[in-house]
């Protein structure tokens, strides 16, 4: 559904006085998205998520590189691409000056639906996205969540096969986020729509996406299912809790010695990166025993996506 190869985007840097200085927003990014996939574009602020989406949605011309989007060439068949895709920008889509109904109908018309079809389609979407009671409301008076639902509904008026959502859940409360996730899944499950969404929320990426593209400093640094991205981080975390502070110095010594890593203390909890797997866990426990330490709990945990993310992106910065 998307085949991007060696996409690069260089902006002139307006903040610098020198006219030659440039920002490399996206740097040699290649990836593919299959039909029916929900793929997350994950990365810190300024990573190049929005720029990547803007290139793939024909809003910004790549400095170099090519892409096929929904089966059409981005550079030469932009109009066909536009007809096949939906896009919700980070900033939103709906205008404060219109009503909910007007926005839904107008975008249908701009996509070439007849007035009757545009109205019917707008009504259907309003119902599906719980906007039917708000049909006559001015967009400027909507809540953040209502507005985001409208943005998404607007991007679906022409039944696109592929939808780009740039930070769709930003500013939403947990309930609205969950309901939006449900909508995205339903979109894929019932209509077979392919989704590329960007997010900062790792739990969201983990819960919603079949596959993640991690991007940092304009470069694609990881591409795989959430579980694999988490594993790329490598070591698990071993957390040992002791009943009293007096045990802490000895525990620290034992853990440092056994793992070769620097443990971190938080209250009565000591955590350490643990690459050894469960096999060597027994050895560590034996050393703790041998030191006559009492422990309240011992826990071995695989890395969370947050940790994987920080590990991946800071590796990139260090490189």
């Amino acid at each position: 559904m998307i085949r991007a190869s060696h996409l690069r985007k260089i902006y002139p840097d307006r903040s610098r006085s020198s006219p030659r200085s440039q920002v490399v927003a996206v740097d040699d990014v290649s990836f593919e998205v299959a039909a029916g996939e929900i793929v997350g574009l994950l990365g810190p602020n300024g990573a190049g998520k929005t720029t990547t989406m803007q290139m793939l949605t024909t809003l910004t011309r790549p400095t170099s590189g090519r892409a096929q989007v929904a089966g059409y060439d981005l550079a030469t068949q932009a109009r066909y691409v536009r007809a096949a895709i939906g896009y919700v920008s980070q900033r939103g889509s709906a205008s404060d000056d219109s009503t909910v109904g007007e926005e839904l109908v107008d975008y249908g018309l701009l996509h070439g639906l007849s007035p009757t079809d545009a109205f019917a389609r707008g009504r259907t979407l309003a119902e599906r996205y719980r906007l039917d009671d708000l049909w006559d409301r001015e967009v400027g008076t909507l809540s953040g969540g209502q507005r985001r639902r409208l943005d998404i509904a607007m991007s679906l008026v022409h039944r696109p096969r592929l939808v780009f959502l740039d930070e769709p859940t930003v500013g939403l409360d947990p309930a609205s986020r969950a309901s939006l996730w449900a909508h995205v899944r339903e979109l894929r499950d019932t209509s077979g729509v392919t989704v590329l969404l960007s997010t900062h929320y790792l739990d969201e990426a983990d819960a919603l996406c079949d596959r993640l593209l991690v991007i940092s400093g304009g470069r694609l640094i990881a591409d795989g299912p959430p579980a694999q991205i988490k594993r790329m981080m490598g070591p698990d975390t071993l957390t040992v809790t002791v009943p009293s502070e007096t045990e802490l110095p000895d525990l620290l010594a034992v853990l440092t010695d056994a793992t070769g890593e620097k443990p971190e203390v938080s209250g009565l909890e000591v955590s350490v990166r643990f690459a050894g797997g469960t096999g060597t866990l027994a050895a560590v426990l034996a050393r703790i025993d041998a030191a006559a330490l009492t422990t309240a709990s011992v826990e071995l945990r695989p890395p969370s996506l947050d940790e994987a993310f920080f590990a991946l992106t800071s590796k990139e910065v260090a490189a």
């Binding site: 902006y11 803007q54 949605t57 024909t58 809003l59 910004t60 011309r61 109009r79 536009r82 007809a83 895709i85 939906g86 896009y87 920008s89 980070q90 900033r91 939103g92 889509s93 709906a94 205008s95 404060d96 000056d97 219109s98 007007e102 107008d106 975008y107 018309l109 701009l110 996509h111 070439g112 001015e138 607007m154 991007s155």
Partner: protein, 250 residues
Amino acid sequence: MSAVRSTAVMFRRQVRGTLRKRAYLAVGLAQPVLYLALFGPLLGAFAGQLGANPYTLLVPGLLVQQAVIGSLFVGFGLLRDMQAGVLDAQRVTPASRWALLTGRTLYNVLDAAVQGLILVVLGFAFGMRADALGGVVGFLLALLLTAAFCAAGYGLAVTLKNQQTFGVLVNAISLPVLLLSGVLIPMSVAPGWLQAVSAILPTTHIVTGVRAAFAGDITSTAVLVGLLWTVGVTIAAFMYGGRAFARANR
């Protein structure tokens, strides 16, 4: 996808938006009244020197001023839409980029026509003298100029993307037009060197043309020159605006 229909959709969106903004409507309608009521008497002080009813000079001048400066300012509305993501949402539809530009511009022409009509009607009430047919020709010229400067204003806004830069540039363009092209005070009262500077500006010739048309000299060279300049400026502005709209975000 018919470009005409997209244009109509864009036009209707703008009209609807305006009808909802009561304050904007009120200020927009009050503006010509204020100009005539406050500036007319000031110009009246020169009445002897000018050899005409001040409103005979002022109304055509104000029509051109509105067509230039009022129109450039439409870019601010577009910048607001850009910031809210509205323009991007429209640009990812298959609607033609020309339609997006033209739909907005047509609305601005309607807006200018309504304000212009108020100006002309009030002008007559204040004692302006004008030829009926010539007045219509002058009025249409001003509307064409409105379309041109709106297209230019939209093009500039899309290119600059920044309220502050856009504001500075619009002022930089507006000021010489306002002061040097004889919009409010005819350049005939200015010293020779200033008249020479003024003659460089297309708007000077357009103002002269519109005034001549209102005076009824439709077949005069002044009207022809004004018309040619207006058409030239319009073609250039639409080529620029259209390209700016069609070109991606760079």
